[in-house]
Amino acid sequence: DQQVKQNSPSLSVQEGRISILNCDYTNSMFDYFLWYKKYPAEGPTFLISISSIKDKNEDGRFTVFLNKSAKHLSLHIVPSQPGDSAVYFCAASAYKGAQKLVFGQGTRLTINP
């Protein structure tokens, strides 16, 4: 099942710089997208979401961009902080209420001091 793909298993970024995590999807029925962050031995924690009627959503240091025609979304973190080091999961669902999320494989982000 490759409906949601995160092609970069890992990413290393200098503290203070921008982190950009990417996600692609194939199912055109998806219209609600989320990013979750996961620390070891913890469950995924919701970060930010975006509905397909928007192309950008911002919350503090986190911004999610959605390109529906390319079936691509990205998460920007700026400035990156050491506490941002975690695994980031992209997830998608067919509608906001469904919450049957399809997850990507995750990208391990490491912020270097």
């Binding site: 099942d1 989320l34 979750y36 031995a41 913890e42 469950g43 995924p44 924690t45 919701f46 979401s49 999961f89 997830a91 469904a98 919450q99 049957k100 999320l101 399809v102 997850f103 990507g104 494989q105 995750g106």
Partner: protein, 111 residues
């Protein structure tokens, strides 16, 4: 901030045994879920539960699996006869009019 709690954090069982994984969702949430993550693989949807019944389930959620909300606070996942391939991290989640909130998971090891 309210959170989803799961017990136990780690369960070891022998193949063929029954296990029950327990979850206490956030109190005012109405939708409950189980997801699992096999080591090295994606987080996968198992089942969603609303109004005391299953609202959706995946192909993974076969007759060996069942869910129950035995009282007003607990939500359980039962695996009747565990197989080696059931070894995974099992996450409970709940939601209201909000994105899913996940618990910290139960690591199930089937030997």
């Amino acid at each position: 901030e309210p959170e989803v709690t799961q017990t136990p954090s780690h369960q070891v069982t022998q193949m063929g045994q029954e296990v029950i994984l327990r979850c206490v969702p956030i109190s005012n949430h109405l939708y409950f879920y189980w997801y699992r993550q096999i080591l090295g693989q994606k987080v996968e949807f198992l089942v969603s539960f609303y109004n005391n019944e299953i609202s959706e389930k995946s192909e993974i959620f076969d007759d060996q699996f069942s869910v129950e909300r035995p009282d007003g606070s607990n939500f359980t996942l039962k695996i009747r006869s565990t197989k080696l391939e059931d070894s995974a991290m099992y996450f409970c989640a709940s939601s209201g009019d909000s994105p899913l909130h996940f618990g910290n998971g139960t690591r199930l090891t089937v030997t």
